[in-house]
Amino acid sequence: MLGLIIARLKTTIPSILGVIIVTFLLTRVLPGDTAAYFAGPAATPQAIAEIRGKLGLDQPLPVQFVSYVSALVKGDLGQSLTTGQPVTADLAQRLPASAELTLFGLLISMAIALPLGVLAAVRQGSWIDHLCRIVATAGVSLPVFFTGLLLVYVFYFILGWAPAPLGRLDVFFSEPPRVTGFLLVDSVIARDPETFRAALSQILLPALTLAIFSLAPITRMTRASMLAVLGADFVRTARASGLSSRTVIGTYAFRNAMLPVVTTLGMVFSFLLGANVLVEKVFAWPGVGSYAVEALIASDYAPIQGFVLTMAILYVALNLAIDILYGVIDPRVRLEG
């Protein structure tokens, strides 16, 4: 197992290097002048030049790259100009917020999508299959900011059931002592039920928004792979042996259908983590997506590079985790590894 992990990690080194070079070059190639933007209103050309010098942007590209990489080796991702803080500190602050939201949304999504997909496959052509199709189509065709605003409008504005969309916690709560950065987990560790409830009520709507969006790929993938498995020989054999339909579907078919579903889950997770910018904007969620987009608008290089790099590393880690999970689900994969 350890050998497998090391071998896998080795193969990722070139892609990480590639990501470093490409993001560095891309941010430099993008139009826009960071120095002019940050010189602020009424800046003189001298002031802009001064800032350019301060940021090291007047150096030739190779020199900039060397100083970037040497800082990177020391774990320094540079300074964000939009927040004025080191990028590492910003990401450490914001990544848990995004991860918590995405994971929670994915859990909700799985809780709905997996049973729905399985049922749709088992009762192919029935009303539940049609429901599955409608849910999936609707979920994927509604843009997330629309679903988000709609949920805010209905549950907060009209009904008043949801709390004000003010971010991770209501303003009159203070964050629990930081352990994992996940407020739901940290408040449990701190045994603070009120904060837990406050955090839960804040995360519910944005997580639901993400869940609605991610329902489609998970449901469809579950249904398709269940259908394939249900038609396989071993299921027929199991049925012929007189096993109950519950055992056949739950134990034999579902486990075998999980492989493609887990792959999809991994893809959906990493996609959502970076792409839930709009949800973050609507719910004032202090996550990495909106952070990166704001930096992009301001031509603020360091946060963009830091974001892309972090995402690349997360993606690698996630793929590794999924590979390991394959082995748990299907021993044949483990043997091949």
Binding site: P31, A42, T44, I51, L81, F172, R191, A284, I297
Partner: protein, 529 residues
């Protein structure tokens, strides 16, 4: 008892509801706290520092004191107070006296204390003003705008007496001491923590070292800033609000919902349509102040491209759909800039043009007929500028000018206007110091600052603007202003479209709104019932 899997899960799920012993949260009450929702918050706590964003002005305003401040005067339509340029009152200064030759001003300091408990001395004032003049970037530019140019001008007379020597007589020197740049730091605290940097940039970026009415209790960039009242504030009436929470809520729709539901107390920076709707619905108060010295204008390049021809610039001024733009892009939240009669000593003021297609068409025909050009604007202003651009395109089509619209992303906009080659640019500029000559100095003077987007060069105008800027008596000043207004009326390097209002939505329970030229909320005057 054996720990089964089921028991462990049940225990885990129940854990959050098991009350922690003796640590019940002491939440501060909502009535002493103000919740402000804004699009984005400060990126630094030091407004003098390079690259500070617009909301940092609010930090400077509320957490630091200046020698002088603008005196509040009632907003004519009601709803609170604004400022009048010439009227100042002491903030850190107890009194001030202009020298008989008019070439220096002596300030007597109050017995004020920094948040650290140390008394404010003239030495701190000098350190801070020296810093603003030498740190570079925007702070230095702004100081220079009021003829505050070098450290030698700032003199410590004794602990409680401070003198500013003038390099020239400039009516903007004293008002410029009241803007959000020349505020006073606790110089000892700053130097102690500077790590050798004479400007203590890194420390002051992340820490407040001031004497102002509020302290920063917590600052999470991009998330929220929490201010707590400084109960020992000596430079004015103690503010009523003990605590201010400023949350960054990027989505304007969310901010509006928060206001309408009554969960947020104050919101800045909504789109004009939302302000109009809120005003019409009547559930919350909307206070609008026409931005002093601010105007949306269409800059026409006078050096390259078709608008070198003054007739075409006038044609654009004649065909501009002023009224339609005011309604469709600002939803009435502004003042029309068309149909002026006699030039006044004021800025902005309506130019003598109004929508008259026949006149415009005749001018275009005389100048050689139809052509195609491009109109640029900053995508960051798209909410207002996009409908404006579309309406302009539609109107210009009627006189044979085909307009392509180019929406430039924020980071590129500065680069784009610095080129000074764009034929038409929509932009809003507002100077902090409300003088006509100040506005023209930035936007039409031969010094060719970045905001002279039309690249207008006219020695006659420069002469009038410079003369007005340093005019010693009012009659000469007024004559110069009227003359340069007449000149730009005819030359139109920029077609003024409208003067937008600066709107703020406040719950009915919030009083004491104070507009400041920096356009950031001033918590010191706000009240809540």
């Amino acid at each position: 008892m054996a720990i089964t899997r089921r028991a462990a899960i049940a225990g885990g799920l129940a854990a959050p509801f098991v009350m922690r012993q003796g640590a019940s949260a002491q939440a501060p009450s909502r009535s002493e706290t103000l919740l402000l929702v804004q699009e984005y918050g400060p990126n630094s706590l030091d407004m003098q520092g390079i690259g500070s964003s617009q909301p940092v002005n609010g930090v400077a305003l509320n957490c630091y004191d200046r020698l002088l401040r603008f005196k509040p005067v009632p907003i004519p339509g009601g709803g609170g107070h604004q400022v009048a340029m010439g009227e100042l009152e002491g903030e850190l200064a107890e009194s001030w006296q202009l020298a008989s030759d008019g070439m220096s001003c002596t300030f007597k300091l109050r017995d004020a204390k920094f948040h650290s408990g140390r008394p404010v001395t003239a030495k701190d004032v000098k350190w801070s003003l020296d810093r603003a003049c030498t740190i570079g970037g925007f702070a230095t530019t702004q100081m220079n705008a009021g003829s505050l140019e070098k450290p030698e001008q700032f003199v410590v007379v004794d602990d409680k007496t401070f003198r500013v020597d003038f390099v020239r007589k400039d009516k903007m020197t004293l008002p410029n001491l009241a803007v959000t740049i020349p505020f006073v730091f606790d110089s000892e605290l700053a130097i102690q923590n500077s790590g050798g940097d004479p400007h203590a940039k890194e420390y002051l970026k992340n820490n407040i070292a001031g004497s102002g009415a509020y302290k920063v209790e917590s600052w999470k960039p991009g998330v929220e800033t929490i201010y707590a009242r400084n109960d020992a504030w000596a430079c004015g009436k103690l503010p009523q609000l003990r605590r201010i929470i400023a949350r960054d809520i990027a989505s304007p729709a969310t901010r509006r919902a928060l206001m309408e539901r009554g969960d947020a107390d104050v919101s800045y920076g909504l789109p004009p349509k939302d302000f109009k709707d809120l005003l019409d619905a009547g559930k919350v108060n909307v206070v609008g102040v026409p931005i002093p010295n601010g105007v949306w204008g269409c800059y026409l390049n006078t050096q390259v491209g078709p608008f070198k021809d003054v007739r075409l610039r006038q044609a654009v001024a004649w065909v501009m759909p002023y009224e339609k733009i005011l309604q469709a892009s600002l939803f009435g939240r502004g003042v029309d800039m068309s149909g002026g009669t006699t030039p006044k000593v004021a800025w902005p003021q309506p130019f003598p043009y109004k929508t008259d297609v026949a006149k415009a068409k005749a001018l275009v025909d005389a100048a050689g007929g139809p052509f195609t050009t491009t109109l640029y604007f900053d995508a960051g202003n798209a909410t207002v500028a996009e409908p404006m651009a579309v309406l302009i395109k539609e109107s210009l089509a009627a006189i044979g000018i085909t307009v392509e619209i180019n929406k430039v992303p924020g980071a590129n906009f500065r680069t784009e206007i610095a080129k000074k080659t764009n034929p038409m640019v929509l932009n809003r500029f507002a100077g902090w110091l409300d003088y006509p000559d100040y506005y023209l100095f930035w936007t039409m003077h031969g010094n060719n600052s970045i905001f002279n987007i039309a690249a207008y060069q006219n020695p006659a105008l420069d002469k009038l603007v410079d003369a007005a800027r340093f005019a010693s008596d009012k009659a000469a000043y007024d004559a110069n202003v009227v003359d340069f207004i007449k000149l730009v009326n005819a030359e139109v390097p920029m077609v003024p479209i409208n003067q937008p209002t600066h709107d703020v939505a406040l719950q009915k329970s919030i009083g004491g709104y104070q507009f400041q030229p920096c356009r950031e909320p001033d918590f010191r005057y706000l009240t809540k019932v």
